[in-house]
Subunit: 339 residues, 2 copies
Amino acid sequence: MNDADILLAHGSGGKLTQELLDRVFFRYFGNVLLNKKDDAAVWSLPSTHCLRMAITTDSYVVKPIFFPGGDIGKLAVCGTINDLAMTGAQPLYLTAGFIIEEGFLISDLEKIVASMAKTAQLAKIEIIAGDTKVVEKGDVDRLFINTAGIGTIDESIDISSINAKPGDAVILSGPVDMHGLAVLSQREGLRFSFPLASDCAPLNGLVARMVNHKNQIHCLRDPTRGGLATTLNELAIQSQVGIEIEEASIPVPEEVRAACEMLGLDPLYVANEGKLVAIVASEAEKAILERMHSHPYGREGAVIGRVTADHPGRVALKTRFGARRILSLLNGEQLPRIC
Amino acid sequence: MNDADILLAHGSGGKLTQELLDRVFFRYFGNVLLNKKDDAAVWSLPSTHCLRMAITTDSYVVKPIFFPGGDIGKLAVCGTINDLAMTGAQPLYLTAGFIIEEGFLISDLEKIVASMAKTAQLAKIEIIAGDTKVVEKGDVDRLFINTAGIGTIDESIDISSINAKPGDAVILSGPVDMHGLAVLSQREGLRFSFPLASDCAPLNGLVARMVNHKNQIHCLRDPTRGGLATTLNELAIQSQVGIEIEEASIPVPEEVRAACEMLGLDPLYVANEGKLVAIVASEAEKAILERMHSHPYGREGAVIGRVTADHPGRVALKTRFGARRILSLLNGEQLPRIC
């Protein structure tokens, strides 16, 4: 242990905690609300602001903590922003809780915190409250981060996983599987002949461009753990509708499909971190796709299927060869510690 | 591994995750907002409601997870409620993120979740969003919980750690050291001849009784990690005032003092979970103490010292023997994993 390592005392609440907070967290996250150092951050909504709010939380345990296209910090900011955005909310603020293994390199912590600050800035949100705990060597695998997020939702928006209706179009915002494969390849030391990076990105800007005030977006969800197939199943179950998907219209890059085959992974169950599924009124599908295509994270958005009144709670896939199979919820665990 | 154990697949986002959510989390936490199962919970503030809000987060890594007077779940609810209450906020909602070790007993998880639900009910708040991750055996020490909380604050209230003023009274809500000693004794298998239980409790009800609309409460803080001495130091530093404390007026039960002495612990640095320090205008101290005494968690509240213009940023203790010593921030780590 030396100056460069996290010590148990960095989590004591005492002198070393203060030093770590100043050296790392306040340096990168510093803002008016956080800097007050009260037990909770306090702010006022402008009185003209809507009073409808959204809150969410996720813990991040991704392994390894650095991977092509991102790191655990970027993931912790994007993931929680995206969960807010999937209700149509505009994220306002995040909290961040760190659980750090004794002996963790302070320089690595700094890289991660800097990455969080950069991502937060990109997404135009602030991190206004936080917590740091240090546990003994061996009692946590390096670093876990929890973020919670809060946002406001315009009163006119009604996006929920119970809102899919027969006839609706199912839109996917772009190619799948990049995050899961990037993390897996880094973890297992695999090399592919094509550049592979996580798609991890904050989707609040894309969602802001997609929504309008006619409630034509019925459901939004980001297909993370369990992948596209699991997300579609959740929507089918919660809305009590059927979903029919065309395999040929799902954008899986050819190299990615080949890599999945080699690794024995079903591409429809691999996790994504910068994609969304939108279930939208069919009369609005063209307009929404156009708006998506004008945004960097929605450029490759496409309709991949339809909602149907048949087989409520189930998702059917029409394969490239014309066969039809039922896609179930993920059974068992495909890739642990993917987020 | 059998039916009674947490499996990696319980954290997959797939079928087993849904089963665990229904079997444990929705069963105990279930409420209108949580049950919608959207990516974020959405609610509307009544339009008559104030627009001033507070948010906070803490991760809980206490070891052991069950201890006399509480468990990690009760702690995770109380700790975050208390951080909100320390700004004068009335807590509304909590989020809860669980990181669980593969092989953890589902029955233990259920006990902890039930304890959280009971504490939430007692404190009149709801848990409306959550997340569950499972990591491989050995990659986390049993169970860590993060909670984030949100509340509203009346516009007329201005409680902050920067508000202490010379002449103010320093009030402590009751005897110190119960939480730290209870956790330590359980961890180390120590037995004392007196009953010892954590003081872990939600303080929002006590704070609601204390506040009035004259802003006579300047600072509130719960002396958790680092104990009373560290909390007083934080307030002295952040308000740039001195604080003078009378050792004789600090309620440390005699048996607790003896146990601390035996264990080589300074009672002023041992963690508490159901106590608060209030710095209040001297003209209001009697009225505030009276209101505190009418509440179960404030019955033994007492003035333990004064704020002074001397030695800004420092805390001085007048000992029982009339000597004076400076109490510094906790140096190093006294008791790791106390919360």
